[in-house]
Amino acid sequence: MRAAPTQDEVRRQNLGALLRWVHLHGATSRAELTSLLGLNRSTIGALTADLAAARLVAEDTPKGLRRAGRPSLVVRPQSASVYAYAVSIEVDRLRAARVGLGGVVLDRRELPRPRGVQILETVAPLAGFVREMHRRVPAGAIYVGGGVSVAGMVRREDGLVRLSPHIGWVDEPIGIALAAELGGDQPMTVGNHADVAALAEHARGAAAGCDNVLYLYGDVGIGGGIIAGGRRVTGHGGYGGEVGHMVVNPHGKPCGCGSRGCWETEIGEAALLTAAGRAGATGRDAILAVVDAAERGDTTARNALRQVGDWLGFGVANLVNIFNPEAVLFGGTLRDVYLAAAAHVRSRLNEMALPATREHVRLRTPALGDDATLIGAAELAFERLLADPLDAAGSPVPPPR
């Protein structure tokens, strides 16, 4: 039989809860924390003191309030000095950022990535970005770890990128390779774009407060990040949520994964551009050019968006029936496709999904935009800190300067 939690465990739990609150919601007064976390005032005082001593939070007197009585101190995350590194490996670009506690992007770097570049070729420039940013970190700042967001399937156990058809990788240990290149002591936590973006939007974006969320990320392929009952659904090995490979058209086009008629062969970048008579073009600008042409009355572009919008609604309807989400977010280039073809997406969804599963579903675009993958990757690293604030604050060794 399991014994009752020890005092240490309870304290760790409470420290984590308090830090998580200010990390997600920003500066909050002690009085509010007392009622929000259901702890008494002296406990909040003691927890805040511990976190402040570890330099994870700071306390200020609130400004600009003119109310009677002694103002309650405001607890805020030390965003400028507690940080994680976030790396995002996308089809068309490589990005890295230094993200402060509270999800604030403190510094960032970006490089276009020609399609077909292999793993060893991305590790060096990404590590270069991190080293460059690291030279500008103020003395005494606290490093909590690093996270990587990749357009590919990621093994949960060790962050191995198993298959990334559009990047051309098979079985690449990117987290370890990056850490080795940087000389740090811990591998970076690796996640799939859609999962990581879903995490960020759920934490502090368009899906904040929703427990059941579907995030669809589109570029060349289509990824899905699923949050069910407040938890990320990643499956047994970490490969779940590959909604882009849900077969929607058994007689459809062959897919890069070896199957036929996968959803992404109907709604991915190539599907839209080919239908619009622009086969061979790639990237977001090409997608926006189709939307623009449709807006100006180009019937080929209009029909292409209508067709892709219809297939988008088809897949969303199936997913809405299965997961009954409160919100479906369209990220990456799917944001632009959704906004330009919403009439067709909605119509197909309304025709196909069950009334009970669709009646309260909100279709939304992400609030964090393209930053979602960076903020979410940092979130992977902050997760360790939030689980045990006073232990993790000391442990990971930052990359050497």
Binding site: L339, R346, S347, N350, T365
Partner: protein, 263 residues
């Protein structure tokens, strides 16, 4: 879920001389939702908005705000209730900066001088609440792009603790990227708890952000439907013939449909 509408229009009639422009029009606007107001040119959308915002008096019917019947006999009355309209022409003064535009005609004063600090703070807070970061507060309106002008015009409407914001074709004449940003802004207004009315001819805009659709047909309300219950072609039918299936202004079985419609 019995949420009360924030704004209810009941049985409103409006004539200009012998021409009856609105006949028994109804529309409900709920807090936290975008209600799309659609209809062909001349269906009465603009007239309805002008009746709600106190520019035209109504001949018959009722406007109910927050459960109370109200008389809106001037735009000032509408503003006092918390109803703001953003018209297509945006009416910003090119020579004034963003803060001055947002407070134009309703400036904050301290003594006899303008209270610039307070106005700047309020403008900043409003823009931040809408996640607008691309503009600087002291930039003259002349230097803004079309999308930014639309954003400032919307922010101006939100500044006054308004509760219902009516947007007349906010994406007309905008480029692709700016249209997307303005649509996201429209959605955010409602997600922040406002009742939003979106007038649009663009079915993608309507389906992208609305929760309900009110369709006007020849001065009458053809239907009020939830966006999750209809298809694109049904809405187009409501706009063009006034009904779809069993929804809408069903044609009188004794007459030939369409014959007397546009007399």
């Amino acid at each position: 879920m019995a949420v009360r509408p924030l704004l209810e229009v009941r049985g409103v009639d409006k004539s200009f001389g012998a021409v009856q422009v609105l006949r028994d029009v109804a529309m409900n606007v709920f807090p936290g939702e975008v209600t799309a107001l659609v209809g062909d040119n001349g269906a009465g959308k603009s007239t309805l908005v002008k009746c709600i915002s106190g520019i035209y008096p109504i001949d018959a019917g009722q406007v109910v705000f927050d459960g109370r019947p109200v008389t809106v006999s001037s735009p000032k009355d509408a503003a006092a209730l918390g109803i703001e309209v953003v018209y297509q022409d945006l009416a910003l003064c090119d020579n004034l900066d963003i803060v001055s535009n947002m407070f134009l005609g309703r400036e904050k004063r301290s003594g006899i001088a303008l209270d610039e600090a307070t106005m700047e703070q309020m403008a900043h807070r409003t823009l931040a609440s809408l996640s607008v970061r691309s503009v600087s507060l002291r930039q003259p309106a002349a230097s803004l792009s079309g999308g930014e002008r639309q954003t400032i015009a919307i922010a101006k409407a939100v500044l006054w603790n308004s509760r219902v914001v009516i947007l007349d074709e906010p994406t007309a004449a905008l480029g692709v990227a700016q249209t997307a940003q303005v649509l996201e802004l429209v959605r955010r207004l409602a997600d922040n708890g406002l009742g939003v009315v979106l007038i649009s001819h663009n079915m993608n805009d309507v389906f992208a952000v609305s929760d309900r659709i009110t369709a006007l047909y020849l001065g009458r309300t053809a239907a009020q439907v939830r966006t999750s219950e209809v298809t694109h072609s049904q809405v187009v039918e409501l706009i063009t013939v006034g009904y779809t299936g069993s929804i809408g202004l069903l044609p009188d079985p004794g007459s030939y449909e369409g014959m007397g419609g546009r007399s």
